[in-house]
């Protein structure tokens, strides 16, 4: 594409139109901010920040509607995790059985190193049990590296309860939605 560049008229070359235009814009913004008092700034620590749906924050484990652990310790997320932030200790043959029906086992220990996590969401995508979700937390702080390794209890507590056992239903819906275009939000 060729952009046509018009010769500036002598009036434009006086810088005056540009100057007056700039004056108008800055004056308008100055007075608006001064009077209506609605600056775009978010006062972050005082006002909580809005996170849009679909935001990929910290990954947490969720419980089902009965408060039981959804994770069945299949270790798919551990294998798919690009930075190897997840470490799962399976219960083994003598370990504790799952605390819910329709499941053989649950993890003995489930650790996510939040310093390694890159918040890519592959664990959520790969999980066949819908047991791990990227929530909206983005400001994770700790005083030591060891504090930033979240264990099973902490992850379950932060994740909360996920409504309804609807294994595979959401996956099916998602797959159907991918067939049509445009994809529904």
């Amino acid at each position: 594409m060729i952009v046509k560049r018009n010769e500036l008229t002598w009036f434009e070359r006086l810088y005056l139109p540009a100057l007056i235009g700039g004056l108008k814009v800055t004056t308008r913004h100055f007075l608006n901010t001064l009077t209506t008092k609605t600056p775009v700034t978010q006062q972050y620590p005082e006002e909580p920040t809005r996170v849009l749906p679909g935001y990929r924050g910290a990954p947490y484990l969720v419980r089902d509607q009965d408060g039981a652990t959804k994770c069945v310790s299949c270790q798919l997320c551990e294998f798919v995790c690009p930075p190897k932030a997840i470490r799962i200790t399976p219960p083994g043959p003598t370990g504790q059985p799952a605390d819910r029906t329709n499941a053989e086992k649950m993890p003995e220990e489930f650790e996510i190193n939040m310093l390694r996590c890159i918040f890519c969401g592959l664990c959520q995508e790969v999980c066949p049990e819908e047991a791990i979700f990227l929530k909206s937390d983005f400001s994770l702080t700790g005083l030591a590296r060891s504090e930033m390794i979240y264990d099973k209890e902490k992850l379950l507590a932060l994740g909360g309860t996920h409504p309804g056992i609807q294994k595979w239903k959401h996956k099916l819906d998602e797959a159907k939605e991918q067939e049509t275009f445009p994809v529904k939000a």
Binding site: A18, L19, G22, L23, V25, T26, H29, F30, N32, T33, L34, P39, V40, T41, Q43
Partner: protein, 380 residues
Amino acid sequence: MAWLDSLSPQTQFVFFTLLKIACVLGPLLTLVAYAVLAERKVSALIQDRVGPNRVNLPLIGSIPVIGPFLTKLGFWHPLVDGVKSFIKEDFTPAHVRKIYFWLAPAIALVPAFLVVAVIPFGSTLGAQKMVIADLNVGILYTFGIVSLGVYGIVLAGYAANSKFPFLGGIRASAQMISYEIAMGMSVIPVFLVVGDLNLGKIIEHQAQNGWNAFPVFGGGFSAQSLLLIPCGVISFVIFFISALAETNRLPFDMAESESELVSGYHTEYSSMKFGMFFIGEYANMFAGAAMMTTLFLGGWTLPFLGLDVPPADGEWFKGLLHIGIFMGKMLAFMFIFMWIRWMLPRFRYDQLMDLGWRRMIPLALANIILTAAVLALTNR
């Protein structure tokens, strides 16, 4: 005040001069600090932001309404900024030319303050004229000192011994030298009209015949005053643009140009050495604003309510009011400086030189001839 009268005139002169220096430098440094805050607040408002609103002092912050209001205003930020720049590490890079590196901030700072010496910032208080040095050649002194300002920047660019400061220094020298010519030529019409180089006399003339920037009120309308309006406007506009260039303000901040040269000539500086450049820059802005007020906007006078004559004996309030009027005009110019910063993008280097040499200087020359012609024809 008997002990004052017992002193010899020379001692009295020294005493009052020192007092005036203290009374000017203190407020000037405070104003510089708060100009930085004002700059941040004005830019925030223009960009729909909030600006600095964090610093809270322990005791004053707990006063019900005033404390939070001052915090929201960012009132304590200059204080904290100052403390911060003093306690930061003063780092000297290994590759710099040490002597010049230490010298440059001082050379940048001193001329900015020296200019203030000749500016009449008020009429009289008691028997004292409100000017530190009432020089007969005030304006020549000012231009001499202002030209020194460029050496600090050039030295800083040379001393840092690295590429970006060096480029900043080169640009600054070319720019400031070019615009100084236009600046010097733009005030010649003022002297043609006034016929004196003393800044006090220039203000007196403006009180009687109207402000130089727009000489209508005062002496009333006459053929001469009407014909002198375009001359005054042109020389004021040229002086204003040159003042922007001389103080390295946008749209002429070639010496710094953050997006191109990191931060130009003071890239390698830290701590209070950087602070001195910063203070120097804002003090220069104040000096420029004061010069414009004095030369073109009638200094401490206002053309109504009898505010255009020095106060009679004992009228202390009027004397203080004159200082207030001067400050008001100066601060208005400071606001315009800050406003323009967010209005215009930076000139390209060749555009800058083109504007300086091929527009401003011929225009200023033409204006001298025009003014001289008007004065000769209307036969004052």
